[in-house]
């Protein structure tokens, strides 16, 4: 059976072009390698391997949260609460530590927070039918505000100083930092969920054409609800990692985190309209943004100029994605035309 990807007119060059155009992860991988190579040339510290282990540790909360958001975005919905969730989870975890003197209860409570907030977001959007962008914007302020009110803007310090807890952040297995292990396991699970399970395929279908999904008997509301819960849960895992680093419930944790996550998702090529994107690309994009930030910090470039650079890189990357997607669409069209020509009208 002939695949469209290998229609007769495609020569070797065309084939490579198709591989390039259709595979966003590939581009991102090349970009990542390029960024690393560039920094290695201009900044000697970037040649040390320890820098990269640090990097992996540092990007892990963002990676976890961004992957959660990607899954949700595939279904065409948004969640702006991730930043506030980082703060809320931290507060809940450390507060529970202090109230129960039990580390496991604290961690459990933290994860439960993600579950509950995700379920609340999900209920607003899928049961009541509220628009997700506005709803989660409201939730973002509401959660942050409640955190302020509850803590009176004082950090909550872990009185037990659970070292086992902070090891979740600081411990290394060989050279591999533990948080990145958590993050990669979750990325793998998310990848598996998105590509191998019916639930994942249904998610893509909903984002691709919600109506088609609904009339095919997919319970769109349930899928979306579950995705909100997953995204909430992932945000609370991010919060857990973040908190393990500080052992403190910090009310201002994750201010602006939602935009950071969004930038990564967009750089990873996911469509804000849903249906397009994948978790590996998002994870790569997180690494790219992390590397650029790291390199610039090591070069002691001003934060102010870092903002400029990140902005410009994002613009270029998105423009690049557009060109790539356009090429992919054109190749598809050409392949289709060739197929039609080769076969004649099937139905006539």
């Amino acid at each position: 059976m002939s695949s469209v990807f290998a229609s007769p007119q495609e020569n070797g060059w065309q084939k490579w072009k198709a591989v390039w155009a259709r595979n966003e992860a590939l581009s991102l991988l090349v970009l990542l390698a390029g960024v690393i190579a560039l920094f290695m040339v201009i900044e000697p510290t970037m040649r040390k391997s320890s820098v990269y282990w640090d990097l992996l540790r540092q990007v892990s909360p963002t990676m976890v949260a961004a992957v959660g958001i990607t899954l949700l975005l595939l279904s065409g919905e948004f969640d702006l609460t991730v930043g506030s969730m980082l703060a809320l989870t931290g507060i809940v975890i450390v507060d529970t530590f202090n109230r129960t003197d039990n580390m496991w209860l604290g961690i459990l409570a933290g994860l439960l927070t993600g579950l509950v907030i995700g379920a609340i977001n999900g209920t607003f959007v899928t049961v009541i039918g509220m628009e997700s962008l506005m709803t989660t914007l409201g939730m973002m302020f509401a959660i942050r505000g409640l955190v302020y009110v509850y803590t009176n803007q004082t950090p909550i310090v872990d009185q037990n100083r659970f070292t086992q807890f902070t090891r979740l952040w600081f411990k290394n297995f060989g050279p591999v930092p533990s948080p990145i292990i958590v993050a990669l396991v979750l990325v793998a699970l998310a990848y598996f969920l998105a590509t191998r399970t019916e639930f994942g395929r249904n998610t893509y279908a909903i984002g691709g054409n919600a109506n088609a999904a609904r009339v095919s008997g997919i319970n769109v509301r349930r899928v979306k609800f579950t995705l909100f819960v997953i995204s909430g849960l992932m945000a609370s895992v991010a919060g857990l990692l973040y908190t393990a680093q500080t052992d403190t419930g910090y009310f201002n944790a994750g201010l602006g985190f939602e935009l950071e996550v969004l930038a990564a998702v967009v750089l990873g090529g996911a469509s804000l309209a849903g249906g397009q994107g994948n978790v590996t690309s998002t994870a790569l994009a997180v690494l790219i943004i992390g590397t650029i930030g790291k390199g610039m910090r090591l070069m002691s470039i001003d934060t102010t100029q870092q903002l400029l650079v990140i902005g410009i890189v994002m613009l270029i990357a998105v423009y690049y994605h557009r060109i790539r997607k356009q090429t992919a669409a054109r190749l598809t069209q050409e392949a289709y035309a060739a197929r039609q020509a080769a076969r004649g009208n099937v139905l006539a």
Binding site: N209, Q276, A348
Partner: protein, 507 residues
């Protein structure tokens, strides 16, 4: 053919559905038998799609009962309906364009491995055999978005097969199919029939109904007018039931008074069309007939400048029309009614009035400042003149029925007082009553001295209203007929014949 003795597959009793301000269904009784093709006809907005959506579980009825296979059925979602082996092929196809054919066929119920994961191998092989059953030779891995509409429709039907549907409902399935594709579809329908599947078939094309239906049910304004075996009725009778009165003449053609040449298209090429030349005179209706994909949609777009023109010249009343600029074309006196109402015609969230006046805003404004009085007056005038059914000028156009939406678009262009009107399939998906209205409007405009270029894939209407007919194939004009020489057979022959045949000089 239907075996009238067997128990009904589906029974609706007293089904009622209201939307705010509209009674879409006012207590409908309906029955579908195994192996029968049951046609559903009615004007736009009569409630056909609403009934289908109730059967599919998308809407819940306000009153009434439904039974499937004798058991009472209360569907809370499409999943419930699918579980009872009901499959709907909707008017607007519901496929996920980015996903593969196989995934679309099994959407909502993938074959799974014992561990509960998607079984890709089974998915592809089962799709392949289903497609083979339908005589469709496509790779199950192809993204559906790449398929032709007809192929997509068959994918939907493959879905019905995959779900072993007992009841298949098709809402205007042929509105985007070529005659060959229609034949193919009908063959599939017969196949289904032989398996005892019951089919509800909605269409505005009454001739089709007489080809395949066993029984027909007529709706009017949410009421069921009658259900009758097809053999006991006629097209004329159906039309009368649908519109509630006798429609004596579908094609009101008054004798043309042909005037000066207005639109001259010389050797124009563009995406989908090659070396197109034609002339439209004042008071003349020129029809272009072509099968699906022949390029008739591109004609209007390229002349109007909505698609790029790569070669050739267009003049209107002697003035040259710039390429690729709808603004200039409008300036010179052209108007274009596009093929896709929803995609590039209507502005759904805007009101009826604002949709109508969109192309002639300047007429109601001084230095950009609008004078609403005049705007309202003229819009109201058009609503009345074209008998547009709308509760008010302020009504969002999205709530109007298809036919009325089309009339709003006609009004948009009539308001500009164009010299030449380019119409692309203006009656697609429109009921017979509204069609008659639109034909009447076309005739009236021609009578007032407008030139009309009318592109259509439907032979009867072309024959009915055009003074001169051009036939298009593969982007080229291949034949031209006067009103009196054209027949259905000659048009089909020209549209489908080989390129080597004599190309009749056009224009």
């Amino acid at each position: 053919m239907a075996t009238t003795t067997s128990a009904p597959l589906l029974t609706l009793a007293g089904i009622r559905k209201e939307f705010p301000g509209v009674v879409a269904l006012a207590g409908v009784n309906f029955e579908l038998l195994p192996g029968e093709v049951h046609a559903l006809v009615g004007e736009n907005g009569a409630g056909k799609s609403t009934m289908i959506k109730i059967i599919s579980g998308l809407y819940r009825p306000d009153a009434g009962e439904m039974a499937v296979g004798g058991e009472v059925a209360e569907f809370r979602s499409p999943a419930d309906s699918i579980a009872r082996r009901i499959k709907v092929v909707y008017q607007e196809l519901d496929l996920v364009p980015d996903m593969s054919v196989a995934e679309n066929v099994f959407l909502g119920g993938y074959p799974k491995t014992p561990r509960g994961l998607v079984d890709w191998a089974a998915l592809n092989s089962r799709t392949e055999s289903l497609l083979a059953e339908l005589g469709l030779d496509i790779d199950p891995g192809t993204p559906v978005g790449e398929l032709r509409v007809a192929e997509q429709q068959l994918v939907e039907i493959a879905r019905a097969l995959s779900q072993q549907a007992q009841i298949v409902i098709m809402d205007e399935p042929t509105s985007a199919l070529s005659p060959g594709e229609v034949d193919r579809l009908f063959a599939v329908i017969e196949q289904l029939q032989q398996r005892g599947v019951g089919i509800i078939y909605v269409s505005h094309k009454l001739d089709e109904i007489f080809r395949i239906a066993d029984r027909v049910t007529v709706f009017r304004d949410g009421q069921l007018v009658t259900t009758t075996p097809i053999a006991e009725t006629s097209i004329q009778q159906l039309v009368t039931w649908m519109v509630g009165r006798e429609l004596s003449d579908l094609y009101p053609k008054s004798p043309a008074v042909i005037g000066e040449p207005l639109l001259r298209v010389s050797n124009v090429s563009g995406p989908g069309i090659y070396d197109l030349s034609l002339t439209v005179h004042a008071g003349e209706v020129v029809g272009i007939f072509g099968l699906m994909g022949a390029g008739i949609n591109s004609v209007g777009r390229v002349i109007f400048g909505a698609s790029p023109r790569t070669a050739g010249q267009v003049t209107l009343a002697g003035q040259e029309v710039g390429a690729g600029s709808p603004g200039d074309a409008m300036e010179k006196g052209l108007a274009l009614l596009t093929e896709n109402r929803k995609e590039d015609g209507l502005v759904l969230p805007l009101s009826v009035k604002n949709n109508m006046t969109l192309a002639s805003l300047r007429k109601f404004a001084t230095f950009g400042w609008l004078w609403p009085r005049q705007e309202i007056k003229e819009s109201a005038d058009y609503v009345n003149r074209l008998s547009i059914k709308t509760p008010s000028l302020r009504q969002q156009v999205r709530f109007l029925s298809g036919g009325n939406q089309q009339k709003v678009l006609m009004a948009r262009w009539m308001m500009r007082d164009p010299k030449v009107l380019l119409l692309t399939e203006p009656t697609r998906g429109i009921d017979v009553g509204s069609k008659a209205e639109i034909y009447r409007l076309i005739d009236e405009m021609a009578h007032r001295g407008l030139g009309i270029l009318f592109m259509s894939t439907e032979i009867p209407e072309i024959l009915g209203i055009a003074d001169r007919i051009l036939v298009m194939r593969e982007g080229r004009i291949v034949a031209a007929f006067g009103r009196n020489e054209a027949t259905q057979e000659r048009l089909v022959a020209a549209a489908a014949s080989d390129l080597n045949d004599a190309i009749v000089e056009a224009g």
